[in-house]
């Protein structure tokens, strides 16, 4: 179901929980599916003994991808035109993430309608882990 420019208002929000109690298994699964085998995401011995972190942590792209699930659920499939993020904090096993989009602008471009969104994903403590923006085509 596509969004409609005529009913969207600046300040509208949409949010959903995109992962609950993130498992190390999902980090390994994402490593395999993406081909990103950086050991900080999968190798507990390396990351604690050599790199000096408290445990493995999620690929930024996994956080970005899970946040993207919220976006496509909100704007519809094949609608996203831009998506940019900063990874503001690490995401650890056990974290639960909630992703939120806030309407920043509704505008016209090349005869079509576009919604600009602020994107923010927080962990169970309310700490922001992904901060960004997205734009999507919407119906009139």
């Amino acid at each position: 179901m596509a969004l409609s420019a005529s009913t969207l208002k600046v300040g509208d929000t949409y949010e959903e929980q995109v992962v609950e109690d993130l498992k190390r298994t999902q980090l390994v699964q994402y490593a395999g599916a993406s081909g990103d085998y950086n050991p900080v995401h999968t190798d507990e011995v390396f990351v604690t003994k050599v790199a000096g972190y408290p445990s493995v942590f999620a690929h930024g792209m996994l956080s970005m991808g899970m946040t993207g699930k919220m976006l496509t659920n909100y704007v519809g499939d094949g609608r996203l035109t831009q998506y940019g993020v900063r990874f503001t904090r690490q995401v650890w096993p056990g974290d639960s993430l909630t992703a939120k989009a806030t309407v920043k602008a509704v505008r016209q471009e090349e005869g079509g309608h576009i919604v600009d969104l602020d994107v923010s994903t927080v962990n169970q403590d309310g700490v922001e882990v992904v901060s960004g923006y997205a734009s999507a085509r919407v119906d009139p």
Binding site: G32, D36, G65, D77, L80, Y83, R86
Partner: protein, 151 residues
């Protein structure tokens, strides 16, 4: 510190052509916990007007490969981490279609963050189809810093 960037890295490297499979898309969608039927069920995708299943937007990161390319060798012990990225989507990635990925180092700059100086490598990757249409453009930032400071 100023990282040495090979002139070849600024020219860019090419991956592919690579043909995306429905299995690649399914395993990626499962790893993200996003079981949208457009990603996993060919009949649903056809009913929506696509020739085969489409990929979630972030599938482009699998296509640009598990490693940041072109590689920039880091001094011994230096750590690096992804700072973030910006992606432009022009069209869907569709199973059964063939794509080429070109990645280059677009910029390198220094900045001072919360915990001290760091260097940022900016890479730009472009995914094109067999008709040389740009499907996705990715700009990503990699933070590099010396071992005594954590990122």
């Amino acid at each position: 510190m100023m990282l040495e960037i090979d002139p070849q890295a600024k020219q860019g490297v090419q991956l592919g052509p690579v043909t995306v499979t429905a299995e690649d898309i399914q395993s990626f969608a499962e790893a993200m916990g996003d079981l949208n039927p457009l990603y996993t069920d060919v009949e649903t995708a056809r009913a929506a007007g696509y020739p085969d299943v489409i990929a979630p937007p972030m599938f482009c990161m699998r296509m640009r490969g598990g490693k940041l390319l072109p590689e920039v060798p880091l001094p011994s012990g230096f750590m690096s981490l992804h700072a973030g990225q910006e992606i432009e989507f022009h069209d869907e990635i569709i199973a059964g279609q063939t794509y080429t990925i070109t990645s280059r180092v677009a910029d390198v700059y220094e900045k001072t963050g919360r915990s001290g100086p760091m260097e940022i490598i900016v890479r730009e990757s472009t995914i094109t189809d067999t008709e040389e249409r740009t499907i996705v453009t990715i700009r990503e930032r990699q933070i590099v810093r010396s071992p005594e400071k954590k990122i």
